[in-house]
Assembly symmetry: C2
Homo-oligomer: 482 residues x 2
């Protein structure tokens, strides 16, 4: 198996978190945090970290779960022969994690030639929507005989994923016959329960575990992310090694030097004391674009709650995550970020050496007294990094609190660190906000109404409610002859 | 030229705006708008619409600018022979508009086979970042002899785009010689001024206009969007026809039946009276995913301001736009949207007939008393639409104000309507907020610091400021041996 060689990890690649630009020294007291404000919260932060350790959430130890890696290796060996394409059927964490890994390893502009040096060993397609138009387009691109469908669902019953599965199963069965169909599937699901597990047992479909105590949005370092990684030529050990390195930096240390604890505290205090109800994550790295999407689910679904940890009603909390990309979004969002309401905490990610650079300048365009002469002698990477600094500086001048992650390189090892530090920070922030960061009751209503409308047994009442809603009189409509 | 046949426009495809779920009847008075609240603002809304008409902004009449269409047709005829790939070099509006058009016409999952029925006539790549890693990947995918670079910049001097241009010019020149290089470029820029215009004149590069009175984020229906559209087989008249139809619905009518005016008023009042500081745009359509990105720039950069129209300091305004995608983001953001802070106005887009559907069910999975039996007899499109309704209903039950656009189909004609109604609404909202919706002073600081650091003449002081910032002592850093 060709494994990704992009990652040139050295100890100095460990992520550095620069918090200078959230301090009152830099921003003033209205928008900056004072030492006193932070110190007052340190005892509570220590309790929060202790509570997370005590709860012993499943995601904490994923970097050490050799049993899960062994499952991934076994399914790779058993199922990939003759397959040139892996299609993930999954939604939410089941899609965002694999996509972030793939794009970080192989880059977002296409992906280089499959099988060529510097390219993935297989094509990865991720179907995380059920627009029939889009799904039909995706299915048309496949040669069923060379395709493996990796169906990912913690519960084993996610309606979107199950709907896709029935279509894919039929397509494969038509192409290779019912007997050979299971060889074109690999399931990733609960170790014991659910439709996917039962079906795997019944048809001998290869199956991998999402541990019971690991929720969907915390599952990227289970087979959810590791199988699509390994199947496309990315060494899962790079991801796990990064996560383990971050665990070592965060666990069993003083909270003041624990990046996850500090990250959680700064977000919490910026929200609570300084009115930063929005958290913008803006990597300056094409490869990390989809990491910001992954963060968006983690932060929104974990902390957007209206019940306390013990289940009582409370005033709703939860920062709204916004993903951006530098420099691209300087030309889309920065006007708002610098001159609009000061209601955001920004986090930039800077990569010192993306591994490639290109000289600027061209005969006939940049010579002599050309308007573009100033570009001559510089590289694209220099401009990229200067713009990151310039934007950071402009934000600070506008008194916008800004965190900056600094990394020497970018690749799976760095991504593993990012996954782990944000999962830890989310769990700790859940404690600070006093909410359950691991449930998602707010998505149940829509799910149950959908089951009702589809006629699933036990959901009749919900079906009637939806029908009543659909037949109500619209009160104010423009267009359509009304 | 093969033009996109996806659009099956009929008069009943005109977009319907359902505003029922922003009313106090449905949401209650805390989060819903009352008739009285809206009526109080009608005189001001009439003034705002009148001011926009009086200003006669350039974007208003773009659907009728046959001169611009003629330019696009001329460059297509002159420049596309033998080219199988068009690469847009542009950032901000110069990239977001072309991308939204291309994905709406051809779909987001890959794009079908180039040149095949139902696929684009040429490949379109859009380079809107300067990460050297990503840009190198993109350039590696090109055969220079078969590539046309469409360089788009209103000012003709955008640093990112100019940097890309020097690399592309050199690459083409190396491949085909200096004399033939201009044949691989087409510029889209200011009609008179700027480096691109001068270079076009000097080397006889084909060039198209962005009219002086049309800003970058309002320029999608100029050659900025129309050339990449036509060059890849999309009929620009579908876009322009949609925009003209929307103009007819919005201009010269009572504000109460003007969708743009009502859209602007609802956003403004939801922000000002009900604390909805975030505007979420969530199409249920893979093809409209990137339209939501385009909206994000338009809304953020136009309305995120801290000066009044007349240039005085004022309290900052501007909703933060967030783009989402149904059903995908039901599994990422809906928890926050339904149970987190009630600080959002949501806008859903529903497409009744995406033109394709797929039956659910597979022998062995959905028969008999299978857990998935409830899917049998339904289609993927049904589930998709039911989920849209169920989510809308869940949002309303949680008292979250929600607008719904309804369209029969999706394609360039519908997209043309959406472009025009949101541009009109943005201009009107600028009047309501009393800000200049057409400038972006907040991006100047970062730009000037960048010029300074690169040594562009006239920016020495800015260069020194950036150097001083870079050499300051960081006050609080975790990792990196500190």
């Amino acid at each position: 198996m060709t494994l990704n060689s992009l990652d040139r990890h050295r100890p100095e690649d460990d992520l550095v978190l620069d918090l200078t630009n959230v301090l009152d020294d830099v921003l003033g007291t209205t928008h900056g945090l004072s030492t006193r404000e932070m110190e007052e919260w340190l005892p509570r932060l220590r309790e929060a970290v202790a509570a997370v350790e005590e709860a012993n959430y499943g995601f904490l130890d994923l970097p050490e779960r050799r049993d899960l890696m062994a499952q991934v290796e076994r399914v790779c060996t058993r199922s990939l022969e003759g397959k040139d394409t892996v299609v993930v059927l999954g939604i939410g964490g089941s899609a965002l994690g694999p996509r972030a890994i793939f794009e970080t390893a192989w880059g977002p502009y296409g992906m280089g030639e499959v099988g060529a040096p510097g390219g993935p060993s297989r094509r990865l397609l991720i179907a995380d929507n059920i627009d029939p138009d889009g799904f039909a387009q995706l299915m048309q691109q496949l040669d069923p005989k060379k395709t493996l469908f990796n169906v990912i669902s913690k519960s084993g019953s996610t309606v979107e994923t199950m709907a896709q599965l029935t279509i894919a199963w039929r397509k494969i069965s038509d192409a290779v016959g019912a007997d050979n169909t299971p060889q074109h599937f690999a399931f990733t699901t609960d170790p014991i329960r659910g439709f996917l597990r039962e079906t795997a047992n019944r048809y001998d479909v290869p199956v991998m575990d999402i541990p019971d105590n690991v929720g969907g949005r915390f599952s990227v370092l289970t087979p959810v992310g590791l199988f699509p990684a390994m199947a496309t030529g990315i060494d899962p050990k790079l991801l796990l090694g990064g996560a383990a390195a971050m665990n070592a930096r965060c666990r069993g240390v003083e909270v003041e030097s624990n990046p996850a604890a500090v990250l959680a505290l700064v977000h919490f205090l910026m929200d609570r004391l300084k009115g930063k109800t929005i958290s913008v994550l803006m990597p300056y790295s094409d490869r990390l674009r989809t990491f910001a999407e992954w963060f968006g689910q983690l932060w929104a679904e974990s902390l957007g709650k209206n019940k306390s940890s013990s289940g009582e009603d409370r005033a709703p909390v939860g920062q709204t995550p916004v993903r951006a990309l530098g420099t691209t979004d300087q030309h889309s969002q920065i006007q708002l970020y610098t001159e609009g309401p000061n209601d955001k905490l920004l986090t930039l990610i800077r990569v010192e050496d993306p591994g490639v650079d290109i000289e600027l300048g061209a005969p006939g365009l940049t010579d002599g007294d050309s308007t573009l002469a100033y570009l001559q002698g510089h590289t694209l990477g220099e401009v990229f990094r200067i713009e990151q600094t310039a934007t950071e500086m402009a934000l600070v001048r506008a008194e916008r609190p800004t965190l900056t992650w600094k990394s020497r390189t970018v690749g799976p090892h760095v991504l593993g660190q990012l996954f782990q530090v944000y999962e830890l920070a989310t769990a700790i922030a859940g404690e600070l906000y006093n909410v359950n960061a691991f449930d998602q009751p707010g998505v149940e209503e829509g799910k149950n109404l959908t089951y009702g409308a589809l006629g699933r047994s036990g959901y009749d009442e919900k079906g009637e409610e939806l029908a009543a809603y659909q037949s109500r009189t619209e009160a104010w409509v423009l267009g359509g002859g009304k």
